[in-house]
Symmetry: C2
């Protein structure tokens, strides 16, 4: 192997170590850190981030890359792991060097204040508190875009940070093929008799539910000798190496089963990171391909597996044994319907599979308009509510349940949202392929067996790490780039059964 | 304030951030890290350690120090906080730069293997497995000494790493004043009727004991908004800032009360770190003065407070309420005697207050002889056993209960042990002064009140951080350097009462 590449890997390894250490500091902040530790932790994260950034933008790194780009010129990254490393290292270097340090500092200051303002605005349901901060955030985002070469659309630059290679035009086409069909489906469902789900909101014992959820993730194949599940204010997945990939979870008394579905979701993310080729740990291709591909894994385990009938044919008797009184008299079929209840609602994170993507499309449209300068920040609440009415037939009674619900914009994370919806689409697209490749998968799931499924995902997705751009990977596996049809088919079939459409 | 000093503080702050991040990685390793995470964690710690060391030994740091040493020449560090910072930064820089990186790498390799060999040797109680590794460790230690200017005694160089400024000759004088008196005391106790302590080894509920221990630390004044207690294989204290100081604990079914005394011990360490002047966080004087001073705090809360009669006058009724059946029929006086039982035993960490220091003296004598080349490694087990017999009147039946019991030598930590005994001495020396300054302290403790005591420690010890060398600090507070008499007086008074000497 190239001596230069070894040097690059060594340097990238140190950067990875710093980033992984920072990730542990972040995990601790969300799980065990005592309240008093916050200020020093911010300082420690800033120092680690600065050193990591300095190394990534160092002359040493740049020089090595220049030489390696020459050395690997003409080598196809799709067929050479070394070339893939060089390609991804170059991508990271380019992103890091284009943005001046002063901008990063300015952004940190603005978004810290914006976050605080958002917390207050949301708690008071008063958009005017957040508005001046969001204006500054959007100005910064535009400035950020200016550091990069002009793209087909300015929003492309943002999208590319979260979904490498993805274009605004592509997302628009994908979502255009989806929007009307999802709206139609929801209208059809609304015309039917609603399913009964009161028993899901009874009192469930937290510890028992937590343990049940943990057991499900183990049965999926989430390796607890290389992972664990801790309590945190929000469920998330984080990793510090391919052999230390953790998830968090929470318990909400009024929505107890969410603990179970969050565990499935986060373990889906975690199995992805646990499955990356271990030889690539600490290298430019030693992580996941993109947020959408990541989300395809979490949503697959949570929804296509975890909200499916075959899954519950196996697990429902077990759940009933743990919660006999709560589920007394509830048939498997009615339980299955309840956990798949469709109901337009205001809050994205609580949305069901049928309505979820519409929440995302709304956000994407607003974000593009903001970047294009076609909407004024002050008009956002009104536009938000109008779109909610158009897509979901409901109008938020206040901004806390509307435009203020998500934290993302306060962080400056504009361009992130569509990866959630794209992940849903990819999950269904993969699912069709998987069911062609694994005959009788439903039968296996009915027996609580997931090794064929996990084995398939390991081989086609997980081990591949970040070797491919997401669209390359999806194309390679399914023969097509990301497309909405499989998801529409999936939803239609599923809800036809549940709501008798 | 000097511009140069600000620059030094900024640089030292970054080094502190790296070290604090590494400390969190170490804490996680002992508490929550899944088994699989070990290898990557070692790599991450190595990277953080390397970057921290590079910064500490950088030309930038050296140049700043040179200029600051000139600027502060003639300024007394005992009366100037800035001068104290320069003095301690210079000390750290000197230590870091004298030792070549290649040596550090060699040491890491040798001690990693030595540790593995020690684990095996101890489990098989076979010194011959550890012997060749210990020989290498001792060779390395001698090499380490050679990097420093000749001292009065070569062992001084090692001692100074753990107890700044302490000399071998000083420790010898201190221990010489102690040895015969402790041996005499133990003989006198052995001639008396042994106390009864069977009830301490009944079955105690882990969770209840854990919570009781936690409550005691809170009542002491350990601030849980800036700390916490987690389960780990061994109890320890660690901190990531003055506002995030954590302890760990464990539960051993055959020695349940150890959880309680460990909590007192570790919270003693933790209150020290929580009490350091917060303005000095991330600076060269933002930690404790030395290991002995640290140990004086932990031992004071564990022993002088936590094994005292006034303490249990308050807490015994409370403990009895939690464990009524275990303590049924056990009077306060008998409980007090039981937790202070003196019995020569093989294992240092389980030793009582009267025998503990003799375990340390034995180790110190062997370490000095090793450094002087006056004993052969192969003869260590025999010499160990002979000394045990001389000091404690018992002979270890095997090496696991003898020379192989402690991990320290496998780490290369030669020079560490005496800080444990010195800490005991300092705790009693401070205690005499405290009881002069706080009239009626026993009365307060009898009421479960510890704020006068903690306030005194805060003022005289904790806030002082690492501004003083340990002997300077002890001298400043008590009017004398470390001396054994107060400890001898303390032991004699205490055990006269318990054993009717």
């Amino acid at each position: 192997m190239s001596e230069k590449l070894n040097q690059l890997k060594e340097l990238y390894g140190e950067i990875s170590d710093l980033n992984n250490a920072a990730a542990l500091l972040g995990w601790d902040q969300q799980t065990y850190m005592p309240a008093g530790g916050g200020e020093a932790r911010g300082q420690q994260l800033a120092t680690l981030g600065k050193i990591s950034h300095d190394k990534m933008t160092s002359d040493e790194f740049g020089k090595l890359l220049d030489e390696l780009k020459q050395e690997f010129a003409g080598v196809d990254p799709l067929s050479s792991e070394d070339a893939a490393m060089v390609r991804m290292a170059a991508r990271d270097y380019d992103k890091a060097t284009r943005v001046p340090s002063e901008f990063v500092v300015e952004q940190a200051i603005v978004t810290t204040k914006a976050f605080e303002a958002w917390v207050e605005a949301k708690s008071k349901s008063d958009f005017s508190i957040f508005r001046p901060h969001l204006e500054k955030v959007v100005e910064l985002v535009k400035k950020y875009i200016s550091f990069f070469p002009p793209a087909d659309h300015p929003y492309d630059t943002l999208l590319d940070d979260y979904e490498p290679g993805m274009k605004t035009a592509d997302v628009k086409v994908i979502f255009d093929g989806l929007r009307s069909k999802q709206v139609e489906l929801i209208k059809a469902i609304a015309a039917r008799k609603q399913v009964e789900d009161k028993f899901l909101h009874k009192k469930y014992n937290e510890e028992k539910l937590w343990n049940f959820a943990a057991d499900v993730t183990k049965q999926f194949g989430y390796d607890w000798t290389r992972g664990r599940m801790d309590k945190a204010p929000h469920p998330f997945e984080t990793s510090f190496s391919v052999n230390d990939v953790r998830i968090t979870n929470r318990f909400e008394a009024d929505n107890p089963l969410a603990t179970l579905f969050s565990a499935m979701h986060e373990s889906g993310h975690a199995m992805y990171e646990q499955g990356v080729n271990p030889a690539w740990d600490r290298t430019p291709i030693g992580h996941a391909a993109s947020l959408a591909v990541h989300e395809s894994q979490s949503r697959m385990w949570e929804n296509l597996v975890g909200r499916s009938l075959p899954f519950w044919e196996y697990f429902y008797p077990r759940l009933k044994k743990v919660f006999p009184s709560q589920l007394d008299g509830v048939s498997l079929k009615n339980f299955y319907k309840a956990i798949n209840k469709v109901e337009p609602s205001f809050i994205r994170v609580n949305a069901d599979e049928a309505t979820y993507n519409l929440h995302i499309m709304l956000r994407l449209e607003l974000e593009i308009a903001l970047v294009e300068g076609k909407v004024a920040i002050k008009d956002l609440p009104e536009i938000w509510n109008a779109k909610m009415n158009e897509y979901l037939g409901i109008t938020p009674p206040n901004d806390a349940l509307g435009v203020l619900q998500d934290v993302h914009w306060s962080y400056g994370s504009i361009g992130y949202f569509s990866t959630y919806a794209l992940g849903n689409l990819v999950s269904a697209q993969l699912w069709e392929k998987i069911n062609k490749d694994i005959k009788g998968l439903d039968e296996e799931i009915r027996k609580g067996k997931f090794d064929s499924l996990l084995g398939w995902l390991r081989k086609h997705i997980h081990t591949q790490g970040r070797k491919y751009y997401p669209q390359e990977l999806v194309q390679k596996i399914t023969g097509s780039k990301i497309t909405p049809e499989p998801y529409v088919r999936y939803l239609t079939t599923k809800y036809s059964g549940i709501y008798g459409l």
